[in-house]
Symmetry: D2
């Protein structure tokens, strides 16, 4: 397909009238099950374990002997499925589910997945994790050809490609469509007879397959969802694979041979849950190792080590053990998180009123503190935490980051820019240290990160700008980020 | 377009997994305004006046200098627009709105109109009242050609036809699409620069245009919506017309010359509001006249005349005046209607527990009562009311119906079958009288109805089976109804 | 008890911080049932029939073998009891229920009845319709003696008096309390073994007892609630009576011999439902008769008669029949009433945007109209309707009121002042006619009203200022109203 | 007051018809502020920091120049105060707030504090943390004397005592009332002119006073609430004190001289937040020290140390550091906690489906694990976690409890029995070890606990049965628990 997105309204569906957000498809969680009488309920528990991958909305689509049925809604899994009947109405022995990433601003129920299509020749379901790099071109092309989209999500594109394919077989249509979309994608497709699981040729997102004691097959974005439902990991979905799961079991196929595993390193660094194992590496263990290596690289003279809860606690304990310094609970995260809070007024904010994080005066007062965090994006959060610690009496605050400096955006499905500027793209480490008010600032080296993770089949472009694929519609944005980094 | 709906799943999208109802597009209300700073608020009041045309859901789409924006929801207009901010967020000087007919069963937000499409080359809105007779064929054809529908409403079809048209001009695309769909339809289309109003070649549904004192143009399914917003009627949309409303005023065009006004007679009989005027005839006046003529035709010996509230009060007062009998309030409708009630148990139902209608013992006790109603569909409601009156002591109950016997279904947008059997299609008048427990049963003659309404540009097929158009996808259903009536 | 309410904060609990309304106990509906396995469900239907007596909130208290249980909430009966389980949880063979009058402003769940008290020596329930004239003095006195009130409702007072009584028997305590409170009151008290129904010595509010076919006893504010549940009226609760209902049936007792039936005439005029019978007189019939007498008294030369829906339709049809003029539907009330609407802006209001009532141009245009209404309170509503009719083309509008002019407030439980000025207290009939823009204004005579109702055991003080009891805490307000009327 | 609770219905208000729970007053959080223009908003943030002390409901009462106003509701602080207007409506420069403990079963809005009383002579507010030991006797006595309670909370009792006191001065009435109630209590009382803070003679619950930079005074159950609003601790409320806070500052008084600080040791062990400081001791530090001492006392041969999140992480890190073993994240708590979950079916539960806690296979597999927890109540949770770890491959699981064995109930405000049996009251340590499936079980010694906390002004009765006060209404329950422990 040729793409020529001229005469397209600027920012078009990425700034939809009903929804001001851009980059809508990023960071989600997938779960599916085939062959269990309680398929929807298992999916509920599986999605709950994947809740950290998306809090905007959730949905479950079941297949009840060929008849598809769905429940979806805005909010957490436990909010969308509030009543027993929300689940018990979803009868059927197979299901796919989805949790969607929460961003600021109003949410639109139409974007909540799985999508459910009810065609004259059968029903189909679709769920997606990732970000397509040629979505805008494809959508534009399809609309010019008469297609009507019902959401402002990239996900629909695949279904339009499948339905318009002239391949005589359904699987052929799907493969054709999978070869047309580019970027990072993990798809679950529910047909009336099977679940299909497909992963992009670089395997940017994790997707694994497990088995339950009764023989049911499960598929999930992270293995932590297997543990919660009592399933055992059996294999990962590999780059370029399309796996068909049905009553005959698992049938592995390829939609392309041109593959190259470069999984997103941010999954290890902060996005995945510590109890998940990705391509054979336990996430907590990788993070703790990154803390150990960071300690060796940093050599900071201090009294105690603390982690920024919750994602940096593993790295902090690794740092503490390697350095021989005590590991302390110097920051407390309020566990009663809500997605929306009433905010303090500007005046109260200046008086130090805060909702989410507290420094423990009894721990940090008078101490030289090493504060371990997983990453710095814009620097504003780090600045707030450093000040929190100093306000609580810390003598020195040394910020130690368990990953290299983030200088380039992610186009494959993680929203690391926070829709704003990456501070390390435009500032030196010394400048950042001063801006956040720290006494020192240390990053883990890129080699240290690879050593901590234990393999190099990783996307490290966020640190060095070397993207493993062409960037299509994002080429311009990439060039801008390159220019910024060069100007530094 | 050729249509060949073989190999289509039986009842397919008309029994959508998420929604068990069929004939989803029937009986709705439209309202639009161009050129008023408070466009959304006016639409809110206009839709409220049209609430009787649909209670399942409502929506308003505004055009704010070319940027379309929408709010919609399930329930009454006052439920969907609860807070001032629901309206105040809809800034813009033009708007279209829709109320959707309430049927039993779960409702789906995706079917609530106006639809809002956000294409790369501009936004469009669409609202529809009526029923297409070739919807199934068209949808099937379109899907085979790669189209994806996002609702189980007929309305979307028009937009797919517009977007796939190869005509170089937008208006040409719209006209082409309007000539492809068949049946009963009134459409409002919002573009970035205008509102389009179009009516099918038979004008099955009413649609009128009015003017406000500030020059704003309004369009509404019934004139009662003009009164409520202080607008004045200026013209009706005529069959086959497509009217463009923009800053230049009203531009009338035709999408076809082959027109023949046969407005649905049920609008006069029970569906429209008594304060509306349809093609020059006030509805209350037509109904009162039908009561007068019925009295002349019926010659029933009785003590009092009562109407079944609320739709039959006009006819009953006409009957009373013509007959010289007192017009009494023998039935009281509980004005605190709710769309969902907790039901009495079977035992309580037998003890006479009822929610909606009460007979007034002090009025009917010992009296020979003429009970005027607008129509009999299945007979079950009439039977309940007759029993109510007899339980309250009525000596005799004579049922007088202010329209002819309903023997054939409507395919143009009114759900007169109640998705069940028409009792008059399979029973004689004497049989029906016995089944409902009345002492006598009289229908208005077909000539009497035409005389009461005052013109004959009417669809009377519900009484005589003579449909003014081919029936396309409903041909089979029509033949079945024909067979039923012949067997009687 | 001596009452000395000096040093009391001005307006104190009648302008409660949480609730700006005054006169909180007015206009409510009571329903009770003893001896039916479905007691709560019957009460639900009974309260629904009494919904016109109060829309702010509703509650049902059941007695399940001596264990009391309750559900209550803000809103209509169908809103408070939304789910089947709301009723099915209320097991037990006896129940009392209450609907509470809706006033503007925020509502407080704590005021919603029945009240439920859980003492160490047993549970009690209490529901009340009416207004006490010595409530403020009693409450003040009780608080000085250590009592703590949990609502800003008068109703609680009775329970404090009962619990503080030193009479050795429970029934003695209740009688003592009933003799301490003054004004208008109908009480239902649920004990663990019975329901008590009591009425004030003047019988200001209606309260009747009925029987179901299975022997269950029901008690209700209006007989329309008997019809809806299939019960038959057996007797009224008479002034000064306290009736005990238990497994032995009905036991009638008196708490005072000093009684004098003077039922509130406004119950007949506009408050009660037309299908209710109060002290032997059907309300619709009384109203129709009032219309007939009004026609005889008024002699207005006109073309048609219309009633203001819904409360004045009976009187209007009586007027039409007596005068020989046609009875027309000249005003339409939107049946989709909601308790809260988004309001038109001032500008829209001037353009004539209205939600609730429409004039039917096709009916009134060019006609001399007699507009029958039940009463005029402040005159603002009448003014609006007259203008509505004239805007729709009425040649003349003659306002005919089916009751005498309202000049004095009600202190026994009906909020006729609308918390504002009674226009007839300060203006002559000619002045009012001009203020509301009518071509003529006629009131029914006081004798005409008594003739229409058919008995004179009525409170007519609203018209002539002759209150049948001392007014206690309202003495000052009464003197003010007297002064106003004299100044006229 | 004499107390003679014979002839009282068994379990009476502690098993209220509307609420099946007993011991309703336990474990709550208090916050108050005097002299800040944003008093309600500060209280919102303060209560959020105290959310761990109660999740059933929350409320804020403000004093706006002598006019009290309140908002309260069921749920978390962020659920009760959802909209900006919930707070902005609470204008005023002083406020008190309360969070209420969540227990199973239905909740009753009437029990949510602060209570608000609106007397003819002024308004009063009241909030309470603790449990009275003579509540049942007092309530019974008061009801016999005519008092009516509006909740099934102990808290109301104090207000009845104040209102019934014959002392001429308000402060005298309050002191008299405080000397009548017994047990554990911290009260905040809002008058029209001041906030009063009072603590029981044993100081069972923490209550501290802080100051903001603008001079405003704050009072809170825990110092973590000071940190969140930017206030500084200035003093604790001491046993037997009643402190008046008004525009003149802080005025300390005593309502009794007979005091003896024995603060509840469970506040340190698991209830308070780690960043709080109680009577000079930081809670995290005390817990970490308890872990260190436990390591010295236990001498377990193992590979890694893990804590049960979140309350045992401090103790676990202390254990790890003292023992030299690695501190690992072997258990992950799902951070998206909801108060209500849809439960797995029995079959799924057996398959290992769990919502809240996961073991990290990559960490514990093949390892000898020391699992540190703060306490064992019934043993069922410990059993589940041990099994979780073994299922994830742990070679050995050694349970180390950072407090002595819980053998006796708390009557002063912490619900440690979980309304069920304390396993250590009836089983030996070896029996418990076997029941929970651990390879070993070690408790911290009582001396070790005192050493860890650093002072002995503690209630340790839960471990040794030596209660510091008479137990009044709980005497019988205490004797039962004594008998159980002796039988062991």
């Amino acid at each position: 397909m040729k793409t020529n997105p001229t005469h397209v309204r600027k920012n078009w569906w990425q700034t939809h009238p009903d929804d001001e957000r851009s980059h809508l498809n990023e960071e989600c969680g997938l779960f599916g099950v085939w062959g269990h009488p309680d398929a929807a309920r298992l999916t509920y528990f599986g999605l709950h374990a994947l809740q950290h991958r998306g809090q905007e909305g959730a949905g479950i689509l079941v297949n009840d002997n060929g008849k598809l049925n769905r429940h979806r809604g805005l909010g957490l899994v436990t909010e969308v499925f509030k009543d027993e009947k929300d689940l018990s109405a979803l009868t059927g022995s197979s299901a796919i589910g989805h949790v969607r990433y929460a961003t600021a601003g109003s949410a639109d129920i139409n974007n909540i997945q799985p999508f459910h299509f009810d065609f004259h020749d059968g029903g189909l379901g679709l769920a997606h994790n990732g970000n397509l790099t040629n979505a805008q071109s494809l959508r534009c092309e399809l609309e010019r050809d008469g297609a009507i989209f019902s959401s402002n999500s990239d996900t629909e594109i695949l279904m339009h490609l499948i339905r318009r394919s002239h391949h005589p077989e359904f699987m052929g249509k799907v493969k054709e469509a999978l070869n047309t979309v580019h970027g990072g994608f993990a798809y679950l497709i529910m047909t009336e007879h099977s679940i299909l699981a497909a992963l992009d040729p670089n395997g940017f997102r994790p997707l694994s397959i497990g088995k339950m004691s009764n023989g049911a097959i499960v598929v999930a974005s992270e293995t932590c969802a297997f543990d919660v439902v009592g399933a055992t990991w059996i294999q990962d979905v590999e780059p370029g694979e399309i796996i068909e799961i049905d009553d005959n079991g698992i049938h592995v196929d390829q939609f392309t041979d041109s593959t190259n595993l470069t999984i997103c390193s941010m999954e290890y660094i902060y996005f995945a849950r510590p109890d998940s194992t990705i391509h054979g590496v336990n996430v907590h263990t990788a993070r703790k190792r990154s803390g150990r290596i960071l300690a060796r690289e940093a050599h900071i003279d201090a009294d105690i080590v603390i982690g920024v809860p919750n994602s940096s606690l593993s790295a902090a304990s690794g740092y503490a053990e390697e350095s021989g310094l005590p590991y302390e609970m110097g920051l407390i995260k309020n566990q009663y998180v809500a997605r929306t809070f009433i905010q303090p007024t500007q005046e109260l904010r200046e008086q130090g009123v805060r909702m989410k994080l507290s420094a423990v005066r009894g721990v940090v007062e008078g101490k030289r503190v090493i504060m371990v965090d997983d990453s710095i994006v814009r620097g504003t959060t780090s600045k707030r935490i450093v000040r929190l610690l100093k306000d609580a009496g810390a003598a020195e605050v040394h910020v130690a980051i368990a990953s290299p400096a983030l200088k380039y955006p992610c186009f494959y499905g993680i929203d690391i820019q926070d829709r704003d500027e990456l501070i390390a793209a435009t500032h030196t480490t010394d400048e950042i240290r001063d801006l956040i008010g720290a006494d020192s600032l240390t990053y883990l080296s890129q080699d240290g990160l690879v050593e901590a993770i234990g393999h190099d089949k990783l996307t490290l472009a966020y640190f060095d700008g070397k993207y493993p694929t062409p960037l299509y519609d994002y080429e311009e944005e990439y060039l801008e980020s390159l220019a910024k980094n060069e100007a530094r």
